[in-house]
């Protein structure tokens, strides 16, 4: 093994011993290889790569100035952490290797400096790399590039930001043959695929695993009395009394909630319950201003906070050493997510991570047993990469056209080698070209479309306005129209979705960033507020960020039923505690086994309910419910209300449901499944919603120049309008097709639905007809989400509506 002089010196000076995986990484990098490093946070994975980079750089005596290494991270907060860690190394060893930070926050002057006197390494984000690709002369700028590191690749991989990384790599490899690419990833179910996507087909990369087992101590917080614990709900604030002693007993606690609104609620309820926490309790979520979030992160580092209520905004990256305890409020949803959150506490080698699970309703308690089983078995989820994202490709084409232009053949060759676009045909590629050059296939010869022009075979943007607008909209994160929340004094607090503010009148109060605020007025896209006194206010909800339980976690949940039925064995505490509830379920209906499907048919004054419990997660249930409703209504025309939760779904109908007949005809059969999905689900509406992101990424919907909203006012239209117009006049549009594909792949998780139906087909179906709602049924019934399903055509619906209105 070749030794790394920089690392040896530095570790010696620190009095540390390198881990085996660090030595392995240095050796592989020294040989000029690419690879993937699989290591948890807090074990020095940054140094495992960094000293390799340094050694590569100094192997040559004299170099031209220029960027030598790009370090891409998903988070700005993480970028700052990497910057300070790597800069410290250069200072300690007195190296002339400089590191710069390039994110959306980087000031224009600093960016200019980075351009004229480039640092040796740039720590940056996928979006900022694309911005660099959109500036003239980028090929020269990157001419000396040798290494690209993609940090937290598992996080980027399952999103369109991952596609941005793939595209950037394809371009950089073309400029710099022999480019070394290193990914850093936590453990996921498809680690090999994660490496293949980064390094490309037929790579000879090194997979280096840290193989450090981190101990997790996990405990479920149980209510005092099961009977008084709600059967349904999602706040869990009745358990506050259990949380306060935990906060008290630890140095610093992170409380993770699943939604931002839940974080807001928990924050002020905790303060109500324990006013002494004021000043030592903070809130952190993705809609709060950077200023506030940075303050919270900094205070966490310094150990001045007792507790922080947060969302997935603190899932990633940076380590907060003082944090020694984590509380997960509500369902953990996924195994990997739970492990990651647990790992936010006690992250130093040898320390144990400590996490408490706080259920929000009775049945959720069993998730404690399920997650323990899943963690023990290492049932980590896969990250599914996006493929054929035409929206990102269109954006990328314009990005290259804005800077130095591109030639179609060369570009096609490059993108074909990425995982995302390996299956697109030349015809599809040409259609994308047509969209950016002519605005699509059009019979008209009006030369009014103006975006990308072709000059001697090179595609370029010549209009400065188009270029400027494009640079402002690079990226793959598109949000709803967000209102900026500000005090009268101008102090910026964060953002809230427009639809929430639009329901408020001036004078109304709401909770945001942990404070009670009064809406003073709405001006353009700003909501002006002032602090309010009192206790009452609404809590905003944000549309994004709601995710269902994963496939692996669903399997773990079903597995708990095997434990439940196993006699004469010590049950996990959660299941023992739930004993009376399971007994009640068994008494009024039945308790299914792991390989049984329970179906309950119940009559109430609301109508005829059909409850089905596949334990597959809300998203899959919504799809399954629609298919089952469609199949039932093709036996007899009927209209159903659909409700679902993580455990099962409900169909509600005015008339009797022909259940027996339907079962004989294969209610849960996989035969003609995709046809029934198409017929039974309002896929159009789902596609319409998906199209919002797509339209934003592809540059159809433009948010406006910061501070200059008037100039673009006539260019604003919402994505729904584009969707309708495309549907009517350009039905084969690639972006429209992409919206439908994304609905199948991500929204409906069609393949997971198919797997669920196939699984159920091997199961015994237990049909019960209880007198009233059962412990399993009630939480589903209580779900506020209701989706009307009807197979009657539009005209008869209109008639029905009319008769209803005129009655």
């Amino acid at each position: 093994m070749s030794s790394n002089a920089f690392a040896e010196t530095w570790f010696f000076n620190k009095g540390w011993q390198p881990h085996r995986f660090q030595r392995d990484a240095w050796a592989a990098i020294a040989k000029g290889r690419s690879g993937l490093l699989n290591a948890p946070t807090g074990y020095g994975k940054t140094f495992a790569i960094w000293f390799g980079v340094l050694q590569r750089y100094y192997r040559v005596d004299k170099r031209k100035k220029g960027v030598h290494c790009l370090w891409i991270t998903p988070l700005r907060a993480l970028s700052a952490e990497i910057l300070s860690a790597t800069r410290a190394v250069s200072e300690d060893l007195e190296l002339d290797y400089r590191i710069g930070l390039r994110t959306g926050d980087t000031a224009a002057a600093e960016r200019q400096r980075q351009k004229t006197a480039a640092p040796e390494a740039l720590v940056t984000t996928p979006e900022s790399v694309h911005l660099l690709l959109a500036s003239k002369g980028y090929a020269d700028y990157f001419a000396g590039l040798e290494v690209v590191v993609i940090d937290e690749w598992h996080e980027l991989m399952g999103s369109k930001r991952g596609v941005l990384v793939e595209l950037a790599l394809s371009r950089l490899r073309a400029i710099c043959p022999g480019l070394q690419v290193w990914g850093i990833s936590a453990t996921i179910g498809n680690l090999d695929q994660a490496m293949d996507i980064l390094l490309g087909e037929g790579h000879a990369g090194a997979l280096i695993k840290a193989n450090l087992q981190k101990d997790i101590h996990m405990e479920t917080l149980l209510p005092d009395v099961l009977e008084r614990f709600p059967w349904a709900g999602h706040l869990g604030t009745s358990m506050i009394g259990k949380v306060l002693p935990i906060i008290d007993a630890h140095r610093s606690t992170l409380l993770f909630t699943n939604t931002r609104s839940q974080a807001e609620i928990w924050y002020h309820r905790l303060l109500d319950a324990e006013p002494a926490l004021a000043g030592a309790l903070a809130i952190h979520h993705g809609s709060l201003s950077d200023e506030l979030r940075l303050w919270v992160e900094d205070a966490l580092h310094r150990g001045t906070l007792k507790a922080v209520v947060c969302t997935s905004s603190l899932d990633l990256g940076v380590d907060f050493r003082p944090v020694d305890c984590v509380v997960q409020i509500g369902s953990p949803k996924g195994v990997a997510r739970f492990v990651q959150r647990a790992g936010r506490s006690g992250h130093r080698p040898g320390e144990t991570s400590k996490i408490y699970f706080l259920p929000t309703h009775s049945l959720e308690i069993m998730e404690g047993a399920a997650i323990r089983h899943a963690v023990a078995q290492g049932l980590l989820e896969q990250r599914i990469p996006y493929v054929r994202s035409f929206d990102v490709l269109l954006q990328y084409m314009v990005t290259l056209a804005v800077s130095d232009g591109f030639r179609a053949d060369a570009l096609y060759g490059e993108i074909k080698r990425t995982h995302c676009y390996s299956s697109i045909s030349r015809a599809e590629f040409d259609e994308c070209l047509l969209l950016v050059t002519q605005g699509g296939r059009t019979l008209d010869t009006y030369a009014e479309f103006h975006k990308v022009v072709v000059e001697q075979g090179v595609h370029r943007v010549t209009s400065r306005r188009v270029a400027m607008r494009h640079r402002l909209s690079i990226g793959a994160i598109v949000s709803d129209t967000m209102m900026r929340v500000k005090f009268l004094s101008g102090k910026y607090l964060g953002t809230i979705e427009e639809w929430f503010i639009s329901r408020l009148q001036p004078g109304d109060t709401f909770w945001f960033s942990g404070r009670l605020l009064e809406l003073v007025r709405v001006k353009d896209i700003q909501a002006i507020v002032r602090p309010a006194t009192g206790k009452k206010g609404t809590v905003p909800s944000w549309m994004g960020g709601r995710f269902p339980i994963s496939d692996n976690f669903g399997a773990a949940l079903r597995h708990t039923f095997t434990e439940l039925h196993r006699k004469g064995r010590r049950l996990p505490g959660e299941l023992r505690f739930l004993g009376p509830l399971f007994d009640e379920q068994r008494r009024v209906s039945a308790l299914p086994g792991e390989f049984e499907l329970l179906v309950e048919y119940i009559r109430t004054r609301h109508g005829h309910h059909l409850f089905v419990y596949p334990f597959e997660g809300k998203l899959v249930h919504e799809g399954m419910a629609a298919v089952v409703a469609y199949r039932l209504s093709s036996i007899r025309k009927a209209t159903f209300s659909i409700a679902s939760n993580e455990y099962g779904f409900e169909l509600l109908c005015d008339d009797a449901i022909p259940l027996e007949e339907a079962m004989q005809l294969g209610l849960f059969s996989t035969e003609k499944l995709f046809e029934d999905i198409r017929n039974g689900i309002n896929i159009r509406e789902m596609a319409r919603r998906k199209f919002r992101d797509i339209a934003g990424i592809a540059g159809l919907v433009f948010q406006g120049f910061p501070g200059k909203p008037m100039k673009t006012k006539h260019l604003q239209a919402n994505s729904g309008l584009f969707f309708s117009v495309f549907e009517e006049y350009d039905p084969n549009n690639l972006l429209l097709r992409q919206a439908y594909d994304e609905v199948y792949d991500f929204q409906l998780e069609a393949s997971r639905m198919h797997a669920a139906f196939a699984r159920i087909n091997t199961h015994r179906i237990v049909v019960q007809q209880p007198e009233r709602l059962t412990p399993f049924a009630f939480p589903v019934f209580a779900e506020s989400f209701r989706e009307r399903y009807s197979n009657e055509d539009w005209q008869s619906r209109l008639e029905k509506l009319r008769s209803q209105l005129e009655a």
């Binding site: 009014e448 990308v452 209009s463 188009v466 209209t639 209300s641 159809l700 006049y729 005129e806």
Partner: protein
């Protein structure tokens, strides 16, 4: 099926084509056409299909052929933005209907110079009054007393109709409250502003080829 209502002794026919017919005045009122929008977007490099624009003109032509109409009132936002080739199509439409008087009550989007409108044979004015009772403007201007009805556009009114089974429809609508009647946007390439239900307001949603009336 159109919906006929009477206000201030005047017959108003709410057409499912999203236009208002005033038979006593042989007048048709159309709000917020937003012509030229597709081309305006395309000029800026945003690919919106073009043919959408033609469908609106065909619909209006059919109305002019069906009813006896002497005056066409364009209730503002006729043309979406700067001049582009869709104006030529409008000029052809104008020429094909020489016998009809075209009146435009200028809207906030109508930034084309008066000269162009005049050359095309379109009279431009801030407001247009029929008899003593009906006053047409682009943005709603609530009349001072109860003897006048203000017919206006600008808002692009729409409504959400809750139906049985917690289902909801979003439909464009005519909206009448006190002395104001708002017209739905005529152009296909327009969005909708959902009106909050207010006591005393009448909402007439356009559903397919019919105009309904919501009970209050």
């Amino acid at each position: 099926m159109a919906k006929t209502i009477r206000l201030l002794d005047t017959t108003l026919v709410l057409l499912p084509e999203k236009a208002l017919l005033l038979p006593e005045y042989a007048t048709l009122v159309v709000a917020d056409w937003h012509l030229g929008k597709a081309s305006h977007f395309r000029k800026a490099g945003i690919f919106m299909p073009l043919p959408a624009a033609a469908a609106d003109a065909d619909r209006l032509q059919a109305l002019l052929a069906t009813y006896r109409i002497e005056t066409l009132v364009l209730l503002g936002d006729l043309f979406h933005s700067d001049l582009n080739s869709e104006w030529l199509a409008f000029e052809r439409f104008r020429t094909a209907n020489r016998s009809v008087r075209f009146v435009l009550t200028r809207g906030n989007h109508d930034i084309l110079p008066d000269r162009l409108f005049r050359q095309a044979g379109v009279e431009v004015m801030p407001a247009y009054t029929l008899g003593a009772r009906i006053r047409c403007t682009h943005a709603p201007e609530p009349p001072p007393d109860e003897t006048v009805l203000n017919v206006a556009g600008h808002i692009h009114p729409g409504c959400v109709i809750p139906a049985r089974g917690r289902q909801a429809y979003r439909l464009p609508c005519f909206y009448h409250h006190r002395q104001t009647l708002l017209l739905p946007a005529f152009g296909k390439l327009t969005g909708m502003h959902i009106m909050k239900p207010v006591r005393g307001a009448s909402i007439y949603p356009v559903a397919g080829n019919g105009v309904l009336e919501l009970p209050c």
